[in-house]
Symmetry: C2
Subunit: 309 residues, 2 copies
């Protein structure tokens, strides 16, 4: 009897230990290591975004990106990555079209809840949450993943444009996790989503193995206030100097401040062409690269994270 | 009895005279006048095409254009024309997507015959004629006209991108004429279409008042051979010096040879960014303007043609 209880005790310790191993540790790092994914959102959006993002990954030190499949320029990415088969590239699930003069609609057929009166996607997540049914969102996520596969992308991960998957209905997050699992790659999630959405809807998420989700520790992103007060270089320098331990996904947006991008982002004060050029400049700069080294930050990719499972 | 026959005789002479009046005469010109519509196809295609086309109409001597509604940049045109409410702008019914890396699909819902396996439009008219049903094409024509109206365009005419309406099935031409009539503006047709399509399918076209169609006399357009042998300036100089009498629609394509347009037209040897820049250069040049004067060519617009009915 004592022997049996010892076995049980050891079993539970092992189990508990397994559960408590952080994702960083599973990747072979320590709990206190500072790990960073430098992730350029929005490739596929425009020609300018495409060539600047690829350049920031091949000439600079951006190490991951994700594609907006519904945009007119997404298929160009399939061609651009042919010479760079190992780039980290996920599917940036896109449910919104936020620009005034540059448009796209859903990829799936018969998803009227994802279309405004003009047939294009809504400009904001609130409208998506209000108008789109969970079934329509799931259909659209699937259509976007399948479209990425068709142009030769082997997605390393899923994430969400403007976060509409996370700030919409819990069913949206469920479909996102379910389809990532079905297609066999991780989906970006942070602990807050697990606590506030998944654990509060156990019935909805019962088919998701929550304990084995590849949950990164935090997301960092420049905000309008930060941009106005510190500028991009100031923000990233501060971030790198004070980076928390664990895995941080730093979400940036890389494009050139050229005629096309000025017109795409016209009348937007933030996330516009100058913002994206500032991101390009920093993440291709020697100064930025040196700050990564000086702060002992280790760059990790979604491909490495996916290899954990 | 004699009186009655005289009345009949006069009636038939009048009728015959009315029928024989050319469109040029109905516009107040003589049969031998050389009338020209300088028509820039493809506004809406890209930002570069949009701003170059507007510039060629406001700074140069292009006097008509037509919009490709399914393209990502079409709504920008709604904004660009606000300051130029009298520009001649029609709907360039678009059933094809001919570029390698820049994509669009249909505007109508549930028109799978207009979509290739990737969901975008086919690159050529032959595939449209083979795969799209007349009902789908009619639905798409309607969707494109309605989309143009939604962004504030008051269409002056209809025409057809790459001529797919004319070289597809006769039903396509029928829907095009039927919807132009329904919405109240002329649709570009030339005598060959009347003879070879309309008159050979009288049953199909029985609801079209063929005798009162606003048929222009001819279309002129640069071809790859002409482009290679004479260049744009050579072609247009020759054309203007030898212009036939009646109404000619000269179809040109105006954009800048910039990064966006180079990428839109990548690997296309013709109708590409340098071709479109050459059109822009000629139709904003003093030389071109002088040639119009020297050859006593009178510029007419679709708005004027529409006023005939």
């Amino acid at each position: 009897m004592k022997k049996l209880s010892t076995i049980f005790f050891l079993f539970f310790v092992t189990l508990s230990f397994a559960q408590e191993r952080t994702l960083a540790e599973k990747l072979g790092y320590t709990k206190t290591d500072k790990l960073l994914i430098i992730h350029a959102d929005d490739i596929g959006l425009s020609h300018s975004e495409n060539i600047a993002t690829i350049s920031s990954m091949t000439e600079g030190f951006v190490n991951s990106t994700s594609i907006m499949m519904p945009c007119a320029w997404s298929t160009e990415v399939g061609e651009l990555i042919k010479d760079h088969p190992n780039l980290d590239i996920g599917v940036h699930i896109t449910l919104t079209n936020e620009w005034f003069n540059y448009k796209w609609g859903p990829m799936a057929d018969n998803v009227p809840g994802l279309q405004g009166p003009d047939g294009y996607m809504y400009p904001d997540c609130a409208s998506v949450a209000k108008n789109a049914s969970p079934a329509e969102v799931e259909k659209e996520i699937r259509a976007q993943i399948e479209a990425a596969l068709r142009i030769g992308i082997k997605p390393t991960h899923l994430d969400s444009h403007m976060g509409c998957i996370f700030y919409g209905r819990p069913e949206f997050l469920h479909s996102y996790l379910k389809l990532a699992k079905e297609f066999g790659f991780p989906a970006m999630v942070v602990p807050e989503m697990v606590e506030s959405i998944i654990k509060t809807n156990p019935e909805l998420f019962k088919d998701i193995d929550v304990d084995n989700l590849l949950v990164i520790d935090q997301v960092a992103i420049a905000s309008p206030t930060i941009y106005d007060e510190k500028g991009m270089e100031g923000f990233y320098s501060d971030l790198f100097s004070n980076l928390e331990s664990g895995i941080t996904a730093l979400l940036i947006h890389v494009a050139y401040d050229d005629e096309e991008m000025k017109a795409v982002t016209v009348r937007h004060l933030y996330w516009n062409s100058t913002w994206r050029q500032a991101d390009y400049d920093f993440f291709t700069s020697e100064k930025g690269r040196q700050l990564i080294k000086d702060n002992n930050i280790k760059l990790v990719t979604w491909r490495e994270i996916a290899s954990v499972n």
